[in-house]
Amino acid sequence: MIDEIRAAPALRPGRRGFGIRLHGSATAWIAVAMLGITVFAAASAPVLIHYDPTKTDLANSLQPPSAAHWLGTDNFGRDIFTRLVYGARVDLQIGTIPTAATFLVGLVIGSVAGYYGGVVDGTLMRIVDVSMAFPFYVLVIAIVAMLGPGLTNMYAAMILAGWVSYARVIRGEVLAARTHEYVLGARALGASDFRVIRRHLLPNVVTVGIIFAMSDAVLNILLGGALSFLGLGVQPPTPEWGLMISEGRDFLLTSPAMVLFPGLALLWVGVTFNLLGDRLTDRLRPGG
């Protein structure tokens, strides 16, 4: 019986591929290209660049741009371009790890709440109400203040404060989808709750989660950069763009490249994810 459901795609309408179905739009290709460049640079940094991003060379500090150092060197004599490229590794992680983790937690809790309703749902919605009252930055900073600064604690804070938004979005989608005939059909055929959620509901609601995650990734990169800038996130000497901006503050007049380029890098990645998110929204939710 269950195999029949699996074999019958008609019972799962609305499921669409959320892979690369972006062709036909120039901006989408620009965004994909921008992402490709960033990921390529981050992945191949050790092969492409022979400078060490963290090794200090005080004899060569604050050098202007040259053939040897394209963007010059920082106050510790480290090559700014090298740190910028290595920074992409850290900042892309900040954009993906907490985003994926909050997505996953929100997906599980949101779908359970939406599917079962009742007390579980009521409790979730009260948690949502309460968490909406806390300004997101304040809540994240307060959690980091308690746990202590550092990348891992920053991730923990981002996940603790962030899962609720995902749960709310997914819960709403599941609530709407669970009355659809294909879900009722699967239940009538005796599929277990777990199976209904996993095979029938999740594929349909995950799209909305992905769209949400795209804009969330930008917010997380900006937040991660901001926390590192404030000294609460990534710690020196790790190359991270927010931290690099903070380190360059005191050398603004002598070496503006230290502040300028990490900021542009953040802007670049932010625009990339925003463009991708907008295109995906147009593609996956026409009119939505």
């Binding site: 806390f134 203040a145 953040l266």
Partner: protein, 311 residues
């Protein structure tokens, strides 16, 4: 209206209680014994025992929470580990600075966002709409602390048009000192307002009453200002509570960059000084402020739009 207010207040109770639970458990996130960590190098067995007692850590969790509630009710949010006095008066002393900054940035953002949002909506799909949307895309992705530093470099250090930091004493001083910080926050608030407003105007333009207004021969400009813009603005303002959360987040960053003596800067300083009661008190205050503003916007909304009261 009275019944609506009572209903909203009743709905607020569980949220208010929830906020106290979250802030109560914040302190429990401290790894290890909070008393030992708070006392740092002064953590003798006697001091630890005394602090544990004064924080109520030697009582059952539930009793601790009830004590916490009782203290909130009497305005005793805890004693700062740095200032050695109650945190509430310190927070309240700095709150006007942050509120000034929040209002200032909202005004600056609105001055830019209303014309831009209206323009984009009226020119939907044309070059100017595309340009505005591109601007929105870029400013949404701009880190505000970076913008703050760049503005500071150009306008305070190079051109010397504005002071480098601080708050000043007179109203005129505040306007001058907080201009760049407010502009920084406005830069990230504007794209959100433009997006919302553009969307709302496009929605209102499709309604029957706008068509009726046109049909009865009202001139286009009057239809736009009297009917379209007014209604779009009301629904934009109704999410003010959401924006407040955003403004506070922006204030934390900009106050720190510009060294403005507000609550945001206090939060960061207290975080580094491990002044846990201060962080806890600030978190509670910010959340209370958000629900208060939400309540006020709901009330204003109910006055402006009677349909809300009968939902």
């Amino acid at each position: 209206m009275g019944r609506y207010l009572v209903r909203r207040l009743l709905l607020l109770m569980p949220v208010a209680l929830g906020i106290t639970i979250v802030t109560f458990f914040l302190l429990r996130l401290i790894p290890g014994d909070p008393a030992v960590i708070m006392l740092d190098n002064r953590a003798t067995a006697e001091n630890v025992a005394r602090l544990r007692h004064s924080l109520g850590l030697d009582r059952p969790l539930f009793v601790q929470y009830l004590l916490f509630l009782k203290n909130i009710a009497t305005g005793r949010l805890g004693e700062s580990l740095i200032y050695r006095t109650q945190v509430l008066p310190i927070i309240l002393g700095r709150l006007p600075v942050t509120l000034f900054l929040a209002v200032y940035s909202t005004v600056l953002a609105a001055l830019v966002a209303v014309p831009l949002g209206a323009w984009a909506a009226l020119r939907k799909g044309r070059a100017s709409d595309q340009a505005i949307r591109l601007g929105v895309l870029f400013s949404l992705a701009t880190p505000n602390y970076w913008a703050a530093i760049v503005l500071l470099l150009v306008f305070s250090i190079e051109l010397r048009w504005f002071p480098v930091g601080g708050y000043g004493t007179t109203f005129g001083d505040h306007l001058r000192h907080l201009f760049l910080p407010a502009l920084t926050i406005a830069l990230s608030l504007t794209p959100i307002l433009v997006r919302t407003l553009r969307h709302n105007i496009l929605e209102v333009l499709r309604t029957d009453y706008v068509r009726t207004a046109h049909a009865k021969g009202l001139e286009a400009a009057r239809v736009f200002t009297r009917h379209v813009l007014r209604n779009s603005l009301i629904s934009t303002v109704s999410v003010l509570g959401v924006h407040l959360g955003f403004l506070v987040g922006g204030a934390v960053i900009t106050e720190t960059v510009y060294a403005i003596p507000g609550t945001g800067f206090l939060l960061i300083k207290s975080t580094f000084a491990r002044d846990y009661p201060m962080v806890q008190g600030l978190t509670l205050m910010f959340a209370s402020l958000v629900i208060l503003v939400n309540l006020l916007t709901d009330m204003t909304y109910a006055v402006l739009d009677p349909r809300v009261r009968y939902d």
